[in-house]
Symmetry: D2
Subunit: 345 residues, 4 copies
């Protein structure tokens, strides 16, 4: 049974790893760290933690982590993650990094969007982009996973197969994405307090969201051609869920062709489900699951294909996909410990 650590376990992605791994039959959490809560038991901070309530938060020291675990999930901010990853890799610990630090292959792109010099550029070449359904084989062998962003996961899964098949044009893509509030993290910011978010809807980081280059990198790889996209993010007054509405110039008017291409591409990927043309997903139907649901419709009036994808931002968009990757890295069935049944309502 693999021993794993969660570095930075008090945020929403760390908590979600605890939740998922509590039901995982093949992994043991041996170490959780928290700078702020060092020395306290998990259950002192989170009274609802039952399975791991007696675990004590360790300080985020690489040596301590390496002593206890063979794989570490990093749930710390970018910058800090790269430093931690370097130390852990040097100590032989396999790493799944949920930050953005190893997602962009070019450190210059990283610096330009994140306004920070990369803290471990030498590790970039060994990092594998952990979009499981797309990079499954490399993930099995990887020692350092760059776990994808939540928005990129929702955006890339519907687009990559269609770009590969040449069914949509690589130019002019628009991704209009909407996220629940847990995507903004668990920190005390005025703009996140209940009364500022509830009964409101807004766009944010328009044309400057940091997930843009990550999406473009992977789309370009799929299309074998440099792609730029319009990517806009919005905040939805709900806890969990991302819905991405995507507009692409269709290269065929045969709606069924898009459906078949996606269905076929994900035939052996049990977490990705393609709905019949004209049906569209609800985020409530993936709540708490590792699923990605994809709907589509061809609009003959404009020649555009409209794709709509839904994920739970904390599961398939973060911690669930991280566990899916861990499963592959340990030779376990990909689905181990991951739910396909939502908490509805």
């Amino acid at each position: 049974m693999p021993k794993v650590a969660i570095v930075g376990a008090t945020g929403y992605t760390g908590l979600e790893l605890l939740r998922i791994l509590a039901h995982h039959p093949q992994a043991e959490i041996t170490c959780v760290t928290s700078r702020k809560e060092t020395g306290k038991k998990i259950k002192e901070i989170f009274p609802f933690e039952d399975a791991f309530g007696e675990l004590v938060f360790a300080p985020p020291e690489p040596d301590l982590v390496a002593e206890k675990a063979e794989l570490a999930f990093l749930c710390v901010p970018h910058g800090a993650a790269a430093q931690m990853a370097r130390a852990l890799r040097a100590a032989g610990v396999r790493v799944i990094d949920l930050s953005a630090d190893f997602r962009l292959k070019d450190p210059k792109t990283y610096e330009s969007w994140y306004k920070l010099a990369h803290q471990a550029p030498d590790l970039l070449s060994e990092a594998v982009y952990g979009l499981t359904e797309i990079h499954r084989e490399e993930i099995r062998e990887a020692n350092l996973i760059a776990n994808p962003g939540c928005y990129p996961t929702a955006s890339l899964l519907p687009l990559i197969p269609l770009l590969k098949e040449g069914l949509i044009a690589p130019e002019g893509l628009i991704i209009d994405a909407k996220s629940g509030v847990s995507g903004a993290g668990r920190s005390a910011k005025l703009r996140l307090i209940y009364c500022e978010v509830n009964e409101d809807f807004c766009a944010y980081n328009v044309a400057i969201h940091r997930h843009t280059p990550e999406i473009e990198q992977e789309l370009s790889l799929a299309a074998q051609k440099e792609i730029v996209v319009n990517f806009t993010t919005h905040l939805v007054p709900m806890n969990r869920g991302i819905l991405a509405t995507i507009y692409a110039k269709a290269q065929t008017g045969d709606e069924q062709a898009f459906f078949e291409a996606l269905r076929s591409y994900y035939a052996s990927s049990s977490f990705v489900k393609i709905l019949s043309p004209g049906q569209f997903p609800n985020t409530a139907h993936v709540r708490g699951t590792n699923l990605c649901l994809i709907g589509l419709k061809y609009d003959p009036r404009t020649g555009r294909l409209i794709l709509v994808s839904a994920i739970d931002n904390l599961v398939k968009g973060a911690s669930g996909q991280a566990v899916q990757n861990m499963n592959l890295m340990f030779g376990l069935p990909e689905e181990t410990g991951l739910s396909k049944r939502p908490l509805f309502p």
Copy 2:
């Protein structure tokens, strides 16, 4: 003091007219109708109704309405609205129709999208599309107003001036719109009950929403050229508000030019506010008001202009704009009785 009637006063747009007119210094509600609640006092149905609590719901009989009021707001379903409008116009009553019946100038377009033969095609020529800031002069003289849809209001106000000025291309427009739940009306449907909507986000009526031809008609008029758009609607778990995110091919890279064009076009329209480039509106900031806030940003990477507009779907998107039109029809200042200050939070 004009005497006005609300035909169909128990839905959300009817209730919102009651709310607005309660604070209106220059209009008197002399008649409210409700098929279902005929004979009951308003306050028996809505205990919070103070100003008009003693009014009694009349049956929706044109004669009764004509006897009591010189202007009627129609808050009944399409089809029924056209029939009521014909009878009221014949009796000399001015009409502001909040349904879709008189919005589309071509009855064939109406029949194709609404699957219904038009009930009063002869009145179409005298109907004025009540997007106040665009058709202000015709509205003053009109006797029959086709009050715009909520989505079209949010979509058209940012686009029309830019199309008129040739600052954006008429091809390839995408409108990705999101609405609070009151837009779906006040009726007992399973898909609208709390647990089916709360903590969910979804797209609906993708590529087939009935507001599409209304948007295209008015854009085509502005551009002097036939325009088709992608228009997608989404349901946000909140009571009120529409946010429309709009993507247009820019004809210039000068971001300030878009801002100035909009600012100048709406210089004398106190309900439309253009935010500085890079700033974007929140629906919470227009809650309960007749405002339309517009933000914009030019994205040099893709050559697209991104526009974001926010309205309260029940106010500027329905009953507020209806009162704004009524004000003009009666020679009152446009702003009379209409709030610019939101209930926040």
Copy 3:
């Protein structure tokens, strides 16, 4: 592996049974019924149903159910449940009834509160009230379980041990309870649509709620004395969760004594957790779990003990407790297939 049926599987408690049993290692769902959806696959109605998507809704015919299952969960309205239970018991099927039909031992009390003649009074004597932690031994042997109401579950678990120990007075009890909206069921009623519930809080059925006699019956049993209570219910704008705030006249001023009595009573009941005096539960901390969390505080100023309990109304308050009872009836460990880890946030 026990074969079980869900009679009335399209409401929230039926759906919740599907969700829980999907993760249950020792039960097989062999039959689901729905009058309205007869003949359709589950996944046609609920696209998110993965585990049981191919199951087809049967009509609610006792013969069909008896042919396929050895135990049936009844998720149909009161009245209908008693009739179904009689037919199924006659056919040798064990029954867990989630309706109110077998909760009240006296059919006259039933008729007085439910305004309906009891449909199977002869079965009342064999029915066991399924509040698991209180009636565990009888449940093991039972063939007909009256699964408790959601409010009674939250109300009784904190009170029964303290009444048995004589630590609180049997007179003057007040239970002020608050529930999420899923407790109102999955039906198209105007008062349940999103905009009527969201951003609202209200009391309902004040002094006449039908769970009152059920609470009083079990409290009287515990106290060996007839008890009447004030019981008030409120609707909270959230999907799941019940919080009951309870006021009792304390028979001692020793706060620790209440804590120890509860802790000791539930020492071997892993779903009931007693918080340290002065700590109080959140409904979010039990979301999706079968837990009941109980907090308490003695107020020396008034001599009252304040108890606060939290459950998920669809799990411990309905379908989870039903599965807990099923586990006992089949000789399985009580916890089988039931989560203690909430979906948080």
Copy 4:
């Protein structure tokens, strides 16, 4: 036209004063202060502020305030409020203090509950408790108003007339109150961020809430007898609204007598409405208004009277009542500028 200042205008009660006074025909805001935003225009911080967008935040200096205004609303924390009040009173400015500093007549009670030495005990004797309907005459002449807490307002209005009439017993009162989140203020605290509050319900400050002595002081005054109460507060996932459910030992079994006593007491108070026995209020029906709705029912089974009151915590519970008091202080009709029509939905 009275000139007024808002000291501490960036919190929710300060913002609400701006909203209300924007529609007030007889008051002019001449000064707003904010320590943090000094020198900025209101509209830089709150883009939705239209009426007062050009006002500039001044530092909270008493001299500056006194120069500009004849009355000041204090929306600053307790402790700071008393100091500001002393300086403003010395400069001849009339003060309406929305903090707790002048609500408790006995500075020892204040110190015991607020853990702070009173900063201006000499002013306590001139302070008038601003529960308008109860202390109307003293308020007219007052120069220093202690504006009531939100919970006390909702709790006292139903109880005081019944205690005065001897219709309920002064012993054994229980107030179980529930509040929307804006009552917790506008500050960046982790426990207030959206995902920690949404889809949750909890009790807080059980048996130690600071509004307790304020409630007891005023009840004791009404009953002419020392009263202690159980007072419990809960957090509801919504922006605005308080509902208080109150349990009292009835001194008569005549339900109509309670109704008549309340109706008669508030006959000339247009903001307090008594519902027919058995009807109960919704917080949504007072949203944005200065109303207090009161429902009641006598429960013959327990001999208790159940009262339910609803207010908007930011209006009748804070800023609306403050303006109501200001109106009286300036000889204006009490209702001036205050709405009775909710924003619904």
